[in-house]
Symmetry: C2
Subunit: 299 residues, 2 copies
C-alpha cells in the first residue's frame, strides 16, 4: 500500500519519518542519523529519497510535511519563525522546490517571541501534538532537553515562552570544565535532593555552589556519582527558581518519557505543583498530523 | 654572579622562575610553556635543569622554592593543602628529592577550607606577596581569573575564602555552547553595564538571561561583540550578587593588572565598594621572597 503522505521530524542530530495512509495510520517508520548539523542544504533531498526508497510513487506526487531544524536558516530552506501569540502549528508552511517531481515538500515554521527574545523550532509541533489530545489545556508545558522550553498555553495558542540552557550547561560542566575530574555519570537521590533544595532556597548563591564539587573531591573523596547528582539538582533547582513566575499557580504538564523529564516532574511536585506527565513518544507525529489537517482545511 | 636561590611559579599552563641574589634582587628571569598540565612527575627536574642552564652552580647546592600547581597531587610532588585559618605562605614547604644533587627543591602547599569545601594553590603566594607590602590589611582580596578567589584576610592570616568559576563558564559558553554562533570577542560598555545591572538586580533570573543572546541574534541581528559584553556583565553580576556577603561593608582590593581585573574593580565600585587595585606583576615573586624569609626564620 502506497502512503498518502510522509511526516518528517528533522532535528539537529538525526531525523525520523513516518509513512501514513489517508487516515493517518502509520504504514512505516524510518530513521537516519543525518540531522541538520551534518547536512548542506543541497543534501536534504537525497537523504529523503534514499530513506523513502520503495515508498516512493512511480509518477504521482507524494506530500511530505517536515518540522524541526530543516527549516532553520542553515537548514534545507528557511521557514521563518511565526510570531506568538499563535496556534503552535499548521499555518505558513513553506514549499520547497525539489529536483525530483514526485516530492511535494513543505516545512513548518518555528515560533518566535520578541520580548524577551526567544525562539523554538520543532517544539511547536510537539505542543500541537499535545493540544490535539487536550485542546482545552490552559497552563504551562515544560519540555526538558538540552534546551528546556517553558510554554504558556491558553485557548489553543502559545501565549508566552522561555528557554533555559540547563541541559547544555550540565553537559559542558561535566564534560569540559575542571569539574569533569570529580564527576562521573551516576546517580544519588539524596545528593540530587540536596542540590535541588539548596538552589531553590538560594538561587543567587549558585555561583558559589559549583567549585565545592571539586574541592570536596580533593579534600574528602566526594564520589563522582554524588557530584553528578548534586550538580544536576543545583542546576535544575536554579532553573525552577528562575521560572517560578511562569509555572507557579498554574496547571503544569511535563512532556517527555525519559529520566530527565521524570526529574523535572518530581522536582516540580516537590514544590507543590500539580504536574501531569505526557509521553513524548508519538507526540511529534500527532503534531504533524494536526498541522497537515490545519493546512488542508486552510487550502 | 651566581644566584643565592631560585623562586619558581609553576602553574598549570606555564612556569616562570627568577634567579635572586642574597638580598632578593633579580639576577635573571626565565619562562617556559611546560606547565603542570603538560608534565609527568618525572619530567619536572629536567625542565628545571634545562631552564636554569648556566645559572647552576658547579657543585654547591642551589635552593629552589616552588609555588603553584607543581605541588598538586598530579604535579611534581604533592604538597598537601594547609587548613585555614593560617598565614598564606612560608610554613610546611615540602622537600623534593632530586637526582641532581645541586638542586635543593621545596614546594609550598596550597590552602584548604573544610566548610564550605574550597582549595587554592598558587594564590596563597600572591596573597603573601600582597601582605608583604600591606601587612595590616583587614578586608577582602579578589583575585579574578579562570577561577576567581574571594579571600577574607585579617591579622596577616587567611580567615575564609570562596572560589567561583565565572571565567571558565564564560569561556565554555562563548567557545563551546550554542551561544558561540552569536558571540564574538569584542566589547561594548553599555552592554556590559546592562548585563551587570540585570544580574545584580535579579541574580535568580540568570538561567533565563542566556538564551536571549542567541534569540536576539536570530531575530534582530544582535552584534556578536554586544552579546560578548552582555554575557560578561551577566556572569560577573551574578558573581557579585553571590559574593556580596563577603565583600560588602569591607575594605576590598582586586589583584591584577589585566582588563578582567579592571572589570571586577569597576563593577564593585559601581556597587558602592571602595576598591584598591594591586598590580599582579611581581606579587608572586614578593610572596615567594616572603615565604623564603619565613622558612629561614623557622629553620
Amino acid at each position: 500500500m502506497r502512503p498518502a503522505w510522509i511526516a518528517v521530524d528533522w532535528g539537529t542530530s538525526n531525523m525520523r519519518l513516518w509513512a501514513l495512509d489517508g487516515n493517518g495510520a502509520v504504514l512505516a517508520e524510518r530513521r537516519s542519523p543525518r540531522g541538520m548539523g551534518a547536512l548542506e542544504s543541497t543534501e536534504y533531498e537525497g537523504v529523503l529519497l534514499d530513506l523513502l526508497g520503495d515508498l516512493l510513487p512511480g509518477t504521482a506526487r507524494l506530500p511530505v510535511l517536515v518540522c524541526g531544524m530543516a527549516g532553520a536558516r542553515t537548514g534545507w530552506r528557511e521557514a521563518a519563525y511565526l510570531p506568538i501569540p499563535c496556534a503552535p502549528a499548521g499555518t505558513h508552511a513553506v514549499a520547497v522546490e525539489t529536483a525530483d517531481r514526485r516530492l511535494q515538500v513543505h516545512i513548518l515554521p518555528g515560533l518566535c517571541q520578541s520580548a524577551p527574545a526567544d525562539v523554538m523550532r520543532g517544539e511547536e509541533t510537539q505542543i500541537a501534538g499535545f493540544l490535539a489530545t487536550d485542546p482545552g489545556f490552559d497552563g504551562v508545558l515544560c519540555l526538558p532537553g538540552t534546551h528546556c522550553k517553558w510554554v504558556r498555553v491558553t485557548e489553543g495558542r502559545v501565549a508566552h515562552f522561555r528557554t533555559t540552557m540547563t541541559g547544555e550547561i550540565f553537559a559542558l560542566l561535566t564534560e569540559r570544565s575542571l569539574l569533569r575530574h570529580s564527576i562521573s555519570a551516576g546517580w544519588n537521590e539524596a545528593a540530587f535532593a540536596r542540590g535541588l533544595a539548596e538552589a531553590i532556597a538560594h538561587p543567587e548563591a549558585l555561583p558559589l555552589a559549583l567549585f565545592p564539587l571539586r574541592a570536596e573531591a580533593l579534600l574528602s573523596d566526594l564520589p563522582g556519582d554524588v557530584a553528578w547528582a548534586r550538580l544536576s539538582g543545583l542546576l535544575i533547582g536554579a532553573e525552577l527558581a528562575a521560572t517560578r513566575t511562569l509555572w507557579g499557580e498554574r496547571r503544569l504538564a511535563v512532556i517527555g518519557d525519559d529520566p530527565l523529564a521524570a526529574l523535572y516532574a518530581g522536582a516540580l511536585r516537590g514544590q507543590g505543583a500539580v504536574v501531569g506527565m505526557v509521553p513524548a513518544g508519538e507526540i511529534t507525529l500527532r503534531g504533524l498530523r494536526a498541522a497537515r489537517a490545519a493546512l488542508e482545511a486552510a487550502a
